[in-house]
């Protein structure tokens, strides 16, 4: 039986700008775990501003649920701002590493071609094994696993997703607003209210 909620589900990229505060990762994680939701991918890193951290969280959900989650995240005291975007609204990448036996690679010319086709490059070459790296979307990094599997893939690891928001101007201007005692409308702007026109008609 098809559940209409299932159909509306898709990947959303949640971007969170935060202070660097011990325990905040836990607070953000429990917003998902308390609703028994799985985080597909989570990355924390510095942002364009010194001292401000950036979380990239990927979740497979309906827009209604994601909107509520983002409001709960933004409610945390140390969270400056949280956004959510579909895959179409962001540029995103994941990085993967593959360890394969060097003798197989050296002997089979086919492997070299396959690696080339998949945009992989060697990071380390040792007598016993070689480590390849590739960067791309999930399907691309997944595909190389399939390709390398017959040649004795020893170890595989993939990083969390990182994403850049296509229409973002960055966070510098907003942060300056937040630092004022009485932030102006620019800072306390409210995407939710702005997008309401289609819901609310007098």
């Amino acid at each position: 039986m098809s559940n209409p909620q299932q159909i509306d589900r898709q990947e959303y990229n949640i971007t969170v700008y935060t202070e660097n505060h011990v325990g905040l990762l836990n607070r953000i994680a429990t917003i998902f775990s308390r609703r028994k939701m799985n985080i597909e991918s989570l990355n924390t890193s510095p942002s364009e501003i010194e001292g401000i951290h950036r979380f990239n969280i990927v979740i497979n959900e309906t827009e209604e649920v994601v909107g509520k989650l983002v409001k709960q995240i933004e409610k945390q005291v140390e969270v400056l701002k949280a956004y959510y975007h579909t895959n179409q609204d962001v540029i995103w990448q994941e990085m993967a590493l593959y360890k394969v036996p060097t003798d197989v690679i050296a002997e089979k010319a086919l492997v070299e071609r396959l690696l080339r086709e998949n945009g992989a490059r060697a990071v380390v070459i040792r007598k016993d094994y070689t480590v390849f790296e590739t960067t791309g979307h999930r399907e691309e990094t997944d595909n190389l696993i399939k390709v390398l599997q017959p040649y004795g893939l020893i170890e595989f690891v993939r990083s969390a997703r990182i994403a850049i928001i296509k229409d973002s101007e960055g966070f510098n201007r907003k942060l300056r607003e937040f630092e004022r005692a009485e932030p102006g409308e620019g800072a306390v702007e409210n995407e939710f209210l702005n997008s309401r026109d289609n819901v609310f008609t007098m």
């Binding site: 935060t18 202070e19 660097n20 505060h21 011990v22 325990g23 836990n26 607070r27 429990t30 308390r34 001292g51 909107g67 509520k68 409001k71 709960q72 933004e74 409610k75 005291v77 140390e78 969270v79 400056l80 942060l175 937040f178 630092e179 005692a181 932030p183 409308e185 800072a187 306390v188 409210n190 939710f192 209210l193 309401r196 819901v199 609310f200 007098m202």
Partner: protein, 577 residues
């Protein structure tokens, strides 16, 4: 990492070397704290040592269990509108706070809890009385922070108070390692916090939505106001009353909002929700504009959501953006502090009376009175009812008392029937439903409002969960009237088992000790009654007694609380029997 405004230069000059513990005392004094509820232990000893020198200014109430301490602080905060302060030690002391933190979190009660923690160098070593309190308390605190250096303390404490009381209030926990309490540092003075760059307590009010809301209200034929605790948390009782009176809209309350508008106000049409009044529940599904003010559409209020007010346009006033559209889809969201938004709305709404619409509520009220309220409040034969006890209490206090209730049948009866003339008069565990809340909360409520009579209405089950706090009453001499409504059952669960589980009474039959003797052991006067003729006299005796008094009233064993919206039903499917 803490971020805050720079210290004023004149304060920097006046530095002196003090311990972390003393810095906390100076900070508490700056925050106008007058009462602390707490319990000492190894890891918080330096703070208690500092308190010894400040015991005249900072009145410390020694409780009998940390849960009692935090519920008392909740009662204090709820009756006074100030921040409740709790001290507890590390490990078990801190974990005993968790129920109270969860309760304060869901009921938006401002608290600052200070827990001791093991020395910083022992963190993570499974040291004696070490528990990871920051992780454990994270989901049930608005904010928490571990202090491991004394010099962090003034700033951390200032942030704690600011976060606890601003915006949508909530509990905050500071976990302070023992070395930070002992350490001496150059204290440059205490500066209250007024801004945190990552925290916006109040969303900016958008005037176009005020205008849209006013237009909806002005065009409405059957508008209906639902109000919650937000009106009191925003100290907006007067603004709310002005709005109600100008617009002429009937208004109903959640149990957390009870008393923000006096019970006998002509437009107060009663209580919402599962055991609320008949009219407000049925007419929720008939109104054309629903105006929710400082309430969060809890499931006990809405019943089945897909059959809740589907015909109505919804205006939602709330300070917390995450409440908008959380449970009920809003037509016009009015974000902001209702202290600001209500006057803006009042200015734009037309003066109306909605007489015929209000009359509908009165008609339902008449039916409810005839079918069940009369028998509950004024029975002439049979066993005593909980309702008549509350009714007699109303007559004697004339609605001026603070009524603190526990959780269960007596809570619903107390909230339904207590007459409340003043705001901050109904203190109950609304969101979490914490049995054992009432006795300690009543102690705290009395400290928060020393000039008012405080009556704790408690069931026989809930009383046994925290009755150790009789020791706190004995030692502190606080004047709390304890009214136990004893039906010899865990009554609410029994009611559900009767109605929905074919009377399979599974472990709801609870025995009690002789409560009057227990009270006597603590030096507290008491009395037990079971006859109607004794009721008024006994209540009078309780109220006029100098000091605390325990009155146990034996009530009907198997009475049910009605009306009732059965779980999974719409509010308009409310049952009168």
């Amino acid at each position: 990492m803490l971020t805050q405004e720079k210290q004023a230069p004149e304060l920097l000059e006046a530095t002196k070397t003090i311990t972390g513990g003393e810095a906390i005392m100076l900070g508490l004094l700056q925050e106008q704290v007058d009462t602390i509820f707490g319990y000492p232990g190894g890891a918080i000893m330096p703070i208690y040592d500092a308190l010894y020198d400040y015991r005249e200014q900072l009145h410390h109430v020694l409780v009998r269990h940390e849960q009692g301490g935090i519920h008392a602080a909740q009662g204090y905060a709820r009756s006074s509108g100030k921040v409740g302060v709790v001290f507890a030690t590390s490990g078990p002391g801190a974990t005993n706070l968790i129920t109270g933190l969860a309760d304060a979190m869901i009921d938006s009660t401002p608290l600052v809890c200070i827990t001791g923690q093991v020395y910083a160098h022992l963190l993570g070593t499974d040291a004696f009385q070490e528990a990871d309190v920051i992780s454990i308390s994270a989901p049930v605190t608005k904010w928490n922070y571990q202090v491991t250096e004394a010099e962090e303390l003034p700033e951390a404490l200032a942030k704690a108070f600011y976060i606890a009381k601003s915006g949508r209030p909530g509990p905050v926990l500071l976990d302070i390692t023992k070395n930070a309490q002992l350490q001496k540092f150059d204290f440059a003075g205490y500066t209250p916090c007024r801004h945190i760059r990552s925290y916006r307590p109040k969303p900016l009010v958008r005037k176009e939505y005020i205008r849209a809301a006013a237009e909806l209200i002005n065009n409405a034929r059957k508008p209906f106001v639902l109000w919650g605790q937000g009106v009191m948390l925003g100290a907006a009782e007067q603004e709310f009353k002005a709005f109600i009176e100008k617009s002429g809209i009937p208004a109903a309350w959640t149990i957390m909002g009870a008393g923000a508008l006096p019970t006998d106000h002509p437009q107060n049409v009663g209580m919402l929700g599962m055991h609320g009044n008949y009219g407000p529940n049925v007419l929720t599904n008939e109104c054309d504009v629903l105006i929710a003010i400082g309430m969060r559409f809890d499931d006990r209020v809405t019943g089945r959501l897909d059959k809740y007010a589907r015909q109505a346009k919804v205006i939602h006033l709330d300070i917390d953006p995450s409440e908008i559209d959380k449970n009920v889809q809003t037509t016009v969201p009015v974000w902001g502090d209702c202290k600001e938004t209500l006057p803006m709305l009042t200015q734009l709404v037309e003066e109306k009376s909605h007489t015929a619409w209000l009359q509908k509520f009165h008609t339902y009220r008449d039916t409810e009175v005839a079918e069940l309220i009369r028998d509950e409040l004024f029975p002439t034969s049979g066993e005593l009812t909980m309702g008549e006890v509350v009714q007699q209490l109303n007559d004697l206090t004339n609605g001026e008392a603070i009524v603190v209730s526990d959780v269960g049948q007596h809570q619903m009866v107390a909230c339904r029937y207590a007459k409340l003339n003043q705001t901050r008069s109904n203190i109950t565990s609304g969101g979490l439903g914490t049995m054992g809340f009432a006795l300690p909360a009543a102690i705290g409520a009395k400290y928060g409002a020393p000039d008012r009579t405080v009556v704790a209405v408690i069931g026989d089950g809930g009383f046994q969960m925290t009755l150790q706090e009789l020791g706190t009453i004995m030692q502190s001499g606080v004047d709390v009237k304890i009214l136990i409504l004893n039906n010899q059952f865990l009554g609410m669960v029994r009611q559900w088992q009767e109605l929905f589980n074919e009377r399979r009474y599974s472990f709801v039959d609870i025995t009690s000790p002789d409560f009057v003797k227990v009270a006597d052991g603590y030096g507290i006067a008491g009395k037990r009654i079971s006859e109607r003729e004794e009721l008024k006299g006994a209540l009078q005796q309780m109220l006029s007694h100098q000091g605390s008094f325990l009155l146990e009233v034996m009530v009907a064993k198997e009475n049910n609380v009605f009306p009732m919206v059965p779980q999974g039903c719409s509010v308009s499917e409310i049952r009168l029997k």
